[in-house]
Symmetry: C2
Subunit: 215 residues, 2 copies
DNA sequence: AACAATTATCTTGTATACAAGATTGTTGAC
DNA sequence: GTCAACAATCTTGTATACAAGATAATTGTT
C-alpha cells in the first residue's frame, strides 16, 4: 500500500522541523512549500494539518500555520509525562510480560551493552529506543503502547542530545539492568519507580538538556 | 476568532460518532457528507482527517475513511491508560497544588456531593468531569493536562453510562473525599493509588461497562 | 452456466479557480 | 509630520475540475 503524496510531505516536514530547520514561530508558507515539493497547495495543506494535530505547529485561522518548537518548560513537561507513561508501562509489564517478551528485552539490552562497550553513541541511541519499545509492548496494552510510541517519537531529537554527555550511556545501561531485573521479578512498584527516574529529567540531566538546547 | 467551516463539521461529526450514529466499520462518504452539510468536499475531507488523527476513524488509502468504534478490549485499554494518567496527575498535584487549587477542588467536590444528594446523575456526570479537570490542572504540567483532557474527552460517552448503575455515584463520591484528603495531605503515593483505582475498570465496573456497550 | 477479462463507473487524491478575510502601503486630511 | 481611512495585494479557505486507482458490471469464452 502506497503512501499518498500528502503523507510523504508530512513526514518530510516533520523531519525538517525536528532538525531545527525552522525556527520557533516561523510561518510555513503553503505556496512556498508547494513549489518546493512540486505539488499543489492541496497536499501541502493536508500535511500541515497533520503537523498541527501532532502539536508540532500551531494554526491561527486565516493567518496560517506556524512552527512550534517546544521551549524549556514544555520540554520538561513532555519528559515528565514520558516518565509517567513509561512507569505505567513498566507497572503493567512487570505482571504481564511473557517469557518471550523478557527474552526479547534481555536481547535488546545486550545490544545496548554492546554499543556502550564500543562507545558507539549513535548505535546506543537506536538500541535504547528498541529496549524501551519492548517494555511498551510488554505492557500488553496497545493503546498505551501507541501513546508511548507517539511521545517517544516527539522526544527523539532531545534524547539524542543527552547521550552526548560523558558517563550518561554507562549510567543509562546500569539502570537498564535494574529494570530488567525488576520486570523479571514481577516487582511492579520497583519497575515503575526505576523507569520513572530513568526517563525523568532531574539533576545532571536537566543541565545537559538545557545545554543541548542552545547548540 | 471565528471557526472555519471544516472545524465545525469536524465537531459535529465527532458528536455523531460519539452518539453511536455510525456503526463500527461504516464508511464516511465524502460526497454524502458534503451534501448533508451543504458544502464542498474540501472542508469535509479536512474534517475527516481530524477524526482519523484523533483515532475515531481509520483511513485506508484510496479506499476511504471508516469509523472505528472502540471494542471492549480497546475500551479497557483506554480506561487503563486513563487511570495511569490520572494517577500521574495526582502524583504531581499532591506536591504542586496551590492553596487556591485545593479550594477549587473542594468546591468542585461540593457540587458533586450536591448532585448525589439530589440523585441527579446527569449533573454528577458534569461536575465529576470538572472535579477531575481540577486535578489535571493541579498537576502543573500543561502537556500532561492536555493529554488527560484529550483522553477524558474520548471516554466521555462511556463514563456517562457507568453512572447509571445503582450505588456507583455514592461510591464515586466517597472516593473523591479520599482523593481530596490525600492531595491536601501531600501524600503522593496515596493520591496516585486512589486515583488509579478510582478510574480503573475493575470488578463490578467491568460488568457495568460491558452491559452498557450493548444498550 | 460459471469464470475470466475487459470496460464502465465510482471514489479518492491532486490541481486549479474563485471568494473572503488580513496585511500592508498609499494617500489625504488635520 | 502624524494619524486615519481607503485601496491594493497577499494568504487562507472553499469550490470545482481533473487524474488515477478501485470496485462493480458486462460481455465473451469455455
Amino acid at each position: 500500500m502506497e503512501l499518498k503524496r500528502a503523507d510523504q510531505i508530512a513526514e518530510q516536514l516533520e523531519q525538517l522541523v525536528f532538525k531545527g530547520e525552522y525556527a520557533d514561530g516561523e510561518r510555513l508558507d503553503e505556496i512556498k512549500l508547494a513549489e518546493h515539493f512540486r505539488v499543489s497547495r492541496t497536499p501541502v495543506r493536508e500535511a500541515l494539518q497533520k503537523l498541527v494535530m501532532s502539536g508540532m505547529a500551531e494554526q491561527i485561522p486565516r493567518r496560517g500555520v506556524f512552527v512550534r518548537q517546544p521551549g524549556p518548560v514544555e520540554l520538561i513537561e513532555m519528559f515528565e509525562t514520558m516518565a509517567e507513561l513509561e512507569a505505567a508501562c513498566g507497572r503493567f509489564a512487570a505482571v504481564r510480560m511473557s517469557e518471550g517478551g523478557l527474552d526479547r528485552l534481555a536481547k535488546a539490552n545486550d545490544k545496548c551493552r554492546d554499543a556502550v562497550e564500543r562507545g558507539d553513541a549513535e548505535r546506543y541511541y537506536v538500541e535504547n529506543e528498541a529496549f524501551h519499545q519492548e517494555i511498551y509492548r510488554g505492557a500488553a496494552n496497545s493503546f498505551l503502547q501507541n501513546e508511548a510510541l507517539r511521545l517517544q517519537n516527539r522526544l527523539k531529537p532531545y534524547r539524542r542530545m543527552q547521550l552526548r554527555f560523558r558517563g550518561r550511556m554507562a549510567q543509562s545501561l546500569s539502570e537498564h539492568e535494574a529494570i530488567v531485573e525488576a520486570l523479571r521479578a514481577g516487582d511492579t512498584e520497583k519497575a515503575a519507580n526505576i523507569l520513572r527516574s530513568h526517563v525523568a529529567v532531574q539533576g545532571e540531566k536537566f543541565q545537559q538538556l538545557m545545554a543541548g538546547l542552545k547548540g
